[in-house]
């Protein structure tokens, strides 16, 4: 797609106030609003290994610390390691019948690092079984963690008991009726069952002991010249945070880090706007509500040389991507007052308020099901939407808003190849619509760059595009009902180029 490398000259204003090209926008069909990567909720969908394209369930990925079990990367240059086979002599060379053994080792095709360099023994099976290294402080650190856990737990217990004692001052309803299990237990003289974690009282841990003698510099550092290619770089060290090897002979192969597929969710209605397919081989989506499929696309055809104060002709091409006919009206930027007003009041008040979350009812899904059925971690907390920020784009040219609107026919893939009949009977205003073909139309607009601009400044024009959006969700549920139509407005900014000097 040309969109990826193209300069961003036509920008749409997302609901959150950011300017994005249409290829980076989503369109939520449920709220009928434009969303972008900044204002949707990102979620990790599935883990997979980039190299072997193997899917990994997230529980397994967690256990394996987000690393692929089979693929290894070179610790020196970070490219994938390949497994090489080699033959070595038989175990007992005296035996004439013995056949040479086959062994495998790891080898980097890029930098020629090999597992033999660092003394990793060759393996018999190609699938791995490469020795894993353990953190040398494992035992001590797990002791420390256990100890801290027990200390905090003890404190929590004490706090609970303290709270209990406090409560006793006042007679509560449950105390009166004596219904709680705790009260009964107390009455018959049983003590409270201690917390199972507290029972195994961690033995008091000895703190580390500081030493006076420290590691001195080796004497040969002053006389021996160093070989730079034997010392690792910072990047190589940081790849293995636990060991951070200083010399290259301590570099060990690293398991490939996994990648994820993300799904995106609209923050105000909790519907997915993009959801990839589970299979890592597939680049398709289960749900893809890209704005490119729903909102008319605008392209700049030509623009006359821009001179301050002089009107120039601007030709824009509009393309309707939907299966439904739409009517596009061009309006002045001020025709979206509710948004602009909102922006103003947020800018005027203190900056802390600008990000105020808009309160929302919890999802009906979690309400209908009983709380006991749903584990607290399983139920999704509803997202909240953040107030949009003010768009800072300055407009540098006046635009003559055409009085008429124009019709864009639905997209028809077959019409692309049909060169014959090109007679449309839309009552087009000939001053506005210059050219038509299937679902595309070119319109002419008059713009006048502002006289305040300096020579060489970027000229930006903005307008509101209002188009009729036909919502297709309702029709799928109730067949006989007419598809729901609505007027959707979106602000568009076009960067037309630099201001030229006067023509004289």
């Amino acid at each position: 797609m040309a969109y990826i490398i193209e300069q961003e000259v036509v920008k749409y204003v997302c609901t959150c106030g950011l300017l994005k090209p249409i290829s980076k926008l989503y369109f939520c069909r449920y709220c009928l609003e434009v969303r972008c990567g900044f204002c949707v909720c990102h979620e990790v969908d599935s883990h997979f290994c980039e190299k072997c394209l193997e899917n990994m369930p997230s529980a397994e990925a967690r256990l394996k610390k987000n690393r692929c079990g089979n693929c290894l990367i070179c610790p020196s240059c970070l490219l994938h390691l390949s497994v090489r086979a080699a033959t070595v002599g038989p175990k007992n060379p005296e035996d004439p019948k013995a056949t040479p053994r086959k062994v495998v080792y790891l080898h980097c095709l890029m930098c020629r690092w090999s597992s033999r360099d660092v003394g990793i023994p060759d393996q018999i099976a190609a699938t791995g079984g490469w020795p894993e290294r353990e953190n040398v402080y494992n035992v001590r650190l797990s002791e420390i963690i256990e100890w801290y856990k027990s200390v905090v737990l003890l404190e929590k217990q004490q706090k609970l008991e303290k709270d209990k004692k406090k409560q006793r001052k006042y007679m509560s309803f449950t105390d009166k009726t004596g219904l709680t299990a705790e009260m009964i237990r107390k009455r018959i003289g049983l003590t409270e069952p201690p917390n199972p974690l507290l029972k195994t009282k961690a033995k008091p841990l000895e703190g580390a002991i500081a030493k006076e003698d420290v590691e001195e510099l080796p004497d040969n550092i002053f006389t021996q010249p160093i070989k730079l290619n034997e010392i690792t770089t910072v990047q190589q060290r940081l790849l293995q945070p636990e060991w951070q090897p200083v010399t290259v002979d301590k570099l060990f192969p690293i398991h490939k880090h996994l990648s994820v597929k993300q799904s995106l969710r609209c923050r105000s209605c909790e519907h997915n706007v993009s959801k990839p397919e589970f299979n890592p081989n597939s680049v398709r989506f289960k749900i893809q509500l890209f704005a490119y499929y729903h909102i008319p696309e605008i392209r700049i055809v030509t623009v006359e040389p821009l001179r301050a104060g002089q009107p120039a002709e601007l030709l824009l091409k509009f393309i309707n991507p939907t299966q439904h006919q739409t009517v596009v009206t061009i309006l002045d930027l001020s025709s979206m007052p509710e948004l602009i007003q909102d922006d103003k009041c947020s800018a005027d008040t203190s900056t802390d308020d600008e990000l105020k979350p808009i309160e929302k009812e919890p999802l009906s899904l979690s309400l209908t099901q009983s709380a006991s059925l749903l584990h607290t971690t399983l139920s999704r907390q509803p997202s909240f939407t953040i107030k949009p920020r003010q768009t800072k784009q300055q407009v540098g040219a006046d635009i003559e808003i055409p009085a008429a609107n124009f019709v864009l026919p639905p997209r028809d893939d077959a019409a692309e190849f049909d060169d014959s009949g090109e007679n449309y009977n839309f009552n087009d205003d000939p001053r506005l619509v210059k050219w038509r073909k299937s679902n595309k139309a070119v319109i002419k607009l008059q713009i006048t760059p502002s006289t305040d601009l300096n020579l060489g400044d970027q000229v930006v024009v903005g307008f509101v595009m209002q188009h009729i959006y036909t919502n297709t969700i309702a029709t799928s549920v109730e067949k006989d009902k007419e598809p729901q139509k609505c007027q959707h407005k979106i602000r568009v900014f076009l960067s037309l180029g630099n201001l030229l000097g006067s023509s004289e």
């Binding site: 990790v44 529980a59 550092i221 945070p241 990000l355």
Partner: protein, 380 residues
């Protein structure tokens, strides 16, 4: 939450631990012994295609956008978990600007909708890795060196000392020394130089001994500096890193300025400003954290410098301090603070003391670290 996330098999909650440093950010999960990744604290700006450090922010809005970008990277490239409704532990320096921590909290709560946030001070949690409660923690990071004593589990903040001595100072010193050596560094473009400064420091330089440094500095030195290194530059060129540069690089840490301030006197000043009973204890429990402390020979030199300074008349009141002892945390210095936070994150402190989403929206601000932690920590 996606259905593929395995609930039931692993029930314990995963707490995400982030330590955003000035140069490198350490991330990982609670109860693990090493960070999952150590990544440079920078993001590539999408519009200008420039790499920007997240501390180079212009204003609040700019920082918000930088952090959104950066934390997205941390979650979806390195940690591979959904940020929503999960607890986060942030390691921060006690001297962290309010603007930064407030904005960070805002990004995490508003943009990423985390369930709760626990902010722990880096100096304090570093002691957790040693299971001790008293010690003098010296953090030498990228921009500054900060020493704060911790007495019985509570940071003694009034005794803090900080100096702008860190990797950044070293890096600018590399440039000065290289141009003084006339190695033709003027012909090397600024961007290339930025990349190699850290590499030269890490791979070639070390902290030399005091006697050698003094001799090398005098004009008529009778000792030869260590062998010089030819540092390759882009395949065809090379840079001669002299032996003197290799040895003298870290001397700026130990050169006293006009106020007699350097790394060693900083430690002694910290000791001087705590009560008399704690002084010996602190001198015998020095903990070094931060990546810059990993320079070869640094600890040995610091020890020698401390002993030398103790003989000085200014510190004559420290008669009782006979020995100076250093701790060796069960981790590399550059992620010791992270490890401490991972230990904290494994305990119930996260559920007891963390700031929850509801509380944050009510208060609209992040409480200062002491109001959040002081009572918990003391009991440990």
């Amino acid at each position: 939450m996606p259905i593929y996330e395995g609930y039931g098999t692993i029930t314990d909650k995963l707490t995400f631990i982030i330590d955003i440093g000035a140069a490198y950010t350490k991330i990982g999960f609670s109860a693990e012994f090493a960070p999952r990744a150590i990544v440079a604290s920078e993001v590539r700006c999408k519009n200008t295609n420039q790499v920007r450090n997240i501390y180079d922010y212009k204003d609040k809005e700019d920082l918000y956008d930088l952090l959104v970008e950066f934390i997205h990277l941390l979650y979806f490239k390195y940690a591979l978990i959904s940020p929503k409704d999960r607890a986060v532990v942030i390691v921060e320096s006690l001297l962290c600007p309010t603007l930064f921590r407030e904005t960070l909290a805002k990004v995490l709560f508003y943009h990423y909708e985390v369930a709760s946030l626990l902010v722990v001070p880096s100096h304090l949690v570093s002691l957790a890795t040693l299971a001790i409660d008293t010690g003098l923690v010296l953090d030498i990071g990228y921009t500054e060196a900060v020493a704060i004593p911790i007495c019985h589990g509570s940071p003694v903040l009034h005794a803090w000392q900080a100096l702008p001595l860190g990797s950044q100072a070293i890096h600018s010193h590399v440039k000065t020394l290289l141009s003084a050596d006339n190695t033709g560094i003027q012909n090397i473009s600024e961007s290339v130089l930025e990349d190699i400064k850290e590499d030269i420091k890490v791979r070639c330089c070390f902290v030399t001994k005091r006697e050698r440094a003094e001799k090398l500095r005098s004009v008529s030195s009778d000792i030869a500096p260590c062998p010089s290194v030819v540092y390759p530059l882009g395949g065809t060129k090379s840079l001669n890193v002299s032996g003197k540069l290799r040895e003298m690089m870290y001397e700026i840490f130990f050169d006293e300025d006009l106020d007699h301030l350097c790394i060693s006197t900083m430690i002694l000043n910290v000791i001087a400003s705590v009560d008399v009973e704690s002084r010996t204890l602190l001198a015998e429990n020095i903990v070094l954290i931060g990546g810059t402390c990993m320079a070869p020979g640094f600890k040995a030199r610091l020890k020698a410098e401390l002993y030398r300074q103790l003989k000085n008349e200014r510190y004559s009141k420290f008669k009782n301090i006979k020995t100076i002892k250093f701790h060796t945390p069960p981790a590399k210095e550059n992620y010791t603070a992270w490890l401490g936070a991972a230990i904290y994150g494994a305990t119930e402190i996260v559920s007891m003391k963390a700031l929850s989403k509801d509380q944050y929206f009510k208060e609209k601000r992040l409480p200062d670290w002491w109001s959040n932690l002081k009572d918990v920590v003391r009991s440990i």
